[in-house]
């Protein structure tokens, strides 16, 4: 390992095409804007208080009417800021906030279907169920945990399972790899994974890998950072990632595609070939790196395969909104979604994750709870103390220890007759 690893790359690439198209025009604009914000050789400061104030808005105020577009994503409006607040500083999570999660999430439960919807009285939905359970994990509210009817939730999961091994988002909804991830992550937290639930699913994920090496939303669709994370993380729930990843993905082409997501001079990740960098891929793409580096020791023993220093640069210089909260790129407003995934990306820059199968014994359904972390070495990335954010579980995108605790709670209740 060399000391040069922690240097950033602010200069433009030396070989650039002269042909101008819509894609290259927008890319040039973004590269210029980012370069203008990045200061050579300096680290800027994470504006903790400003971001915490922004993230506490849903806990303190009524959101204005323009949030109506997220009225079918209420559990996300809780999970995103809660997760971000906790990795920013665990002290942000007051008892008052934690105690209000349970009732707020349970209001989204569709009692007839047995799973969570996007709001009170809405149809049960896999993304809403995933976000709800993640928010409940953060609540640490065992009283609410014990109110969840796992048999009913399991039956509903089976009702959105499709014969080809995939899942649809809701009854009659769209089938994609997000649905697979949300279903499996939910089942893992509740400890209700069965062979019946997962039959054919790894094969279905495998069919979503494209000729570019990344993973698309469904077989044939374009490779995309968000779906890549969903597919990879789902494999880490289905079994031992050391075996599952090489069995169901062409790892070399996946890594090649992942590596091409980091842009110079911006330092951030794009989600697709020839698309622009976006702060949220700091997690979707960066999370893939965490998992690969932590699960496949032959990928990396001491090194990382990408530039953590450059991603940290993009996050700190380009993704912090002056009004608080994190954003896609300069010129965009901050929001809770980007705050959650940009800060998760920062956490991923600053930590090194390892999959340790012996850590907790290999009881079934527990594969995604065997991850440990350590602070990244200064040879890889220089981390200013005031910029450090907390570690997380790279499969569930939850503060470290939180999902583990919820899973253990249900595991202790014994096996369900499913």
């Amino acid at each position: 390992m060399t000391a040069e690893q922690n240097t950033v790359h602010n200069e433009e690439l030396s070989v650039v095409d002269s042909l101008i198209t819509e894609s290259s025009t927008t890319e040039d604009e973004v590269a210029r804007m980012c370069a203008g914000l990045i200061l050579d050789g300096q680290l800027t400061v994470l504006q903790r208080q400003l971001h915490a104030d922004f993230l506490k808005i849903p806990m303190s105020f009524q959101l204005p009417p323009n949030y109506t577009g997220l009225d079918a994503s209420k559990p996300w409006l809780m999970y995103w800021p809660l997760h971000a607040l906790e990795i920013l500083d665990p002290d942000n999570q007051t008892d008052d906030i934690l105690s209000r999660i349970g009732p707020s999430i349970m209001a989204c439960l569709n009692g007839i279907e047995g799973a969570f919807g996007g709001g009170n009285g809405q149809t049960a939905h896999l993304a809403a169920t995933y976000a709800s359970l993640n928010a409940l994990a953060i609540s640490r509210d065992e009283q609410v945990w014990s109110q969840i009817n796992r048999e009913e939730l399991y039956k509903w999961l089976m009702s959105v399972k499709l014969p080809d091994g995939g899942f649809s988002m809701h009854v009659g909804g769209e089938e994609d790899v997000r649905a697979v991830y949300c279903a499996l992550a939910s089942a893992a937290l509740l400890n209700i994974i069965t062979p019946e639930l997962t039959e054919g699913t790894a094969e279905w994920i495998s069919r979503c890998q494209t000729y570019e090496g990344g993973i698309g939303g469904a077989p044939g669709n374009e490779a995309h950072g968000g779906y890549a994370f969903c597919g990879l993380a789902a494999l880490c729930i289905l079994g031992n990632p050391i075996e599952m990843i090489p069995q169901y993905l062409d790892v070399d082409s996946f890594v090649h595609w992942l590596s091409a997501r980091q842009y110079q001079p911006e330092g951030g990740f794009s989600g697709r070939t020839n698309k622009l960098v976006d702060g949220c891929y700091s997690w979707w793409v960066g999370g893939c790196w965490s998992i690969l580096e932590g699960a496949l020791p032959w990928i990396t023993s001491t090194d990382v395969l990408w530039s953590k220093a450059d991603l940290q640069k993009y996050i700190l210089f380009c993704c912090q909104s002056p009004r608080g909260g994190l954003r896609d790129k300069p010129g965009k407003s901050s929001d809770f979604y980007h705050s959650c995934y940009v800060l998760s990306g920062l956490s991923e820059v600053q930590h090194r994750y390892s999959f340790r199968p012996k850590l907790r014994g290999s009881e079934s359904g527990g594969w995604s709870f065997m991850w440990t972390y350590e602070l990244e070495s200064p040879d890889i990335v220089i981390i200013d103390e005031q910029n450090v954010v907390g570690p997380l579980n790279p499969v569930h995108v939850l503060p470290a220890g939180v999902g583990e605790r919820m899973h253990d709670f249900y595991a202790a209740l014994g096996t369900l007759e499913l």
Binding site: D71, S104, G121, G172, G220, A223, V251, H256, G267, L305
Partner: protein, 315 residues
């Protein structure tokens, strides 16, 4: 003045169900406009008894214009349309209006898929998709929908010329390239070598227009791999673009003439596949130190492993 919910139908006999956000002091409450609050109160009431009526259908139209991301409303609407045996062509026209008003909304695509599947006629689809891709030529959900449509109605014949046109407009439109790959290989029938040759030539011509364009390179390499053709087939092409000349032991790059760093990368893989370790190392070192330094760690990793993309472990 609060916005009242105005409807053509009478809602007097129905008891709206108010929204219960949970507890005294719920998280993330939204200060809805009055019309939305009233309409969702009716929605919960009619959905709870699965009312099948024209007024319920009208309610879904109104709510979709207030919040097109409300997936429960879309799903209910589909059930109503089928139960009431509504004219599905009218529905398609209506969706087109919604799509143009809310171009980023994606709930419409799953809905349209259900309607078109039942309608069993794709006549309106390609023109509508065209309009939507004009608004955003990389709209992920539109391209996914187009794939479904092509499979469902066996529309393969139109697709290659369509991707020609989209790639002509923007040679870096990766969605169009992905669709082209789907078009060539998605049919599930054997492909003639002549067709493969055409695709290789097509990709090469596109690369010559913009030699750093990753979309065209990914396509070229993807076609070769799928057709089980060797990378060495494009070695000369890469030599030209990377301005490379070689001896048995080493390579020489004319730095001023190099037009494509990707060509250099492919050459490194070709050398590694032939166990020409020194040459591969030279190419990767150039990528790491000169041409693509942000990915230095990756190039060094490739060099350490000397693994070429052409001899990957099988899936």
């Amino acid at each position: 003045m609060p916005l009242a919910y105005i409807s053509d139908y009478s809602w007097e006999a129905i008891v709206p169900i108010p929204q219960d956000d949970g507890g005294e002091n719920p998280l993330a409450p939204i200060a809805y406009q009055d019309d939305y609050k009233t309409a969702t109160g009716y929605l919960r009431a009619v959905m709870s008894v699965e009312e099948v009526s024209d007024r319920a259908l009208q309610l879904t139209s109104d709510l979709i214009f207030m919040n097109p991301a409300h997936y429960s409303v879309w799903a209910y609407r589909a059930r109503l349309l089928f139960a009431l045996k509504k004219d599905l062509e009218q529905e398609l026209i209506w969706i087109e209006e919604v799509g143009q008003r809310f171009p980023k909304n994606y709930q419409i695509w799953n809905h349209r898929e259900m309607i078109v599947d039942k309608y069993d006629n794709p006549i309106r689809e390609l023109p509508f998709i065209e309009v939507m891709l004009e608004l955003d030529s990389k709209n992920y959900h539109v391209w996914s929908y187009r794939q479904w449509l092509v499979r469902r109605f066996d529309l393969w014949i139109t697709e290659l010329p369509y991707t020609d046109r989209m790639i002509e407009n923007d040679v870096r439109n990766n969605s169009a390239w992905n669709h082209r790959f789907f078009t060539v290989f998605g049919k599930g029938v054997d492909i003639a070598q002549s067709e493969i040759n055409d695709e290789i030539d097509y990709a090469k011509r596109a690369i010559l227009k913009a030699p750093q364009n990753a979309s065209a390179w990914n396509y070229l390499l993807g076609v070769l791999k799928r057709a089980q053709r060797p990378l060495s087939e494009i070695e000369e092409f890469c030599n030209d673009l990377a301005a490379v000349t070689t001896t048995a032991q080493s390579l020489n790059v004319d730095i001023d003439r190099l037009a494509s760093t990707r060509a250099l990368e492919v050459l490194a893989d070709i050398y590694a596949g032939r166990r020409e370790v020194e040459k591969a190392a030279q190419a990767w070192t150039l990528l790491a130190e000169k041409y693509d330094p942000i990915r230095e760690n990756y190039w060094k990793f490739k060099n350490r492993r000397q693994v070429s993309v052409s001899w990957l472990q099988p899936k």
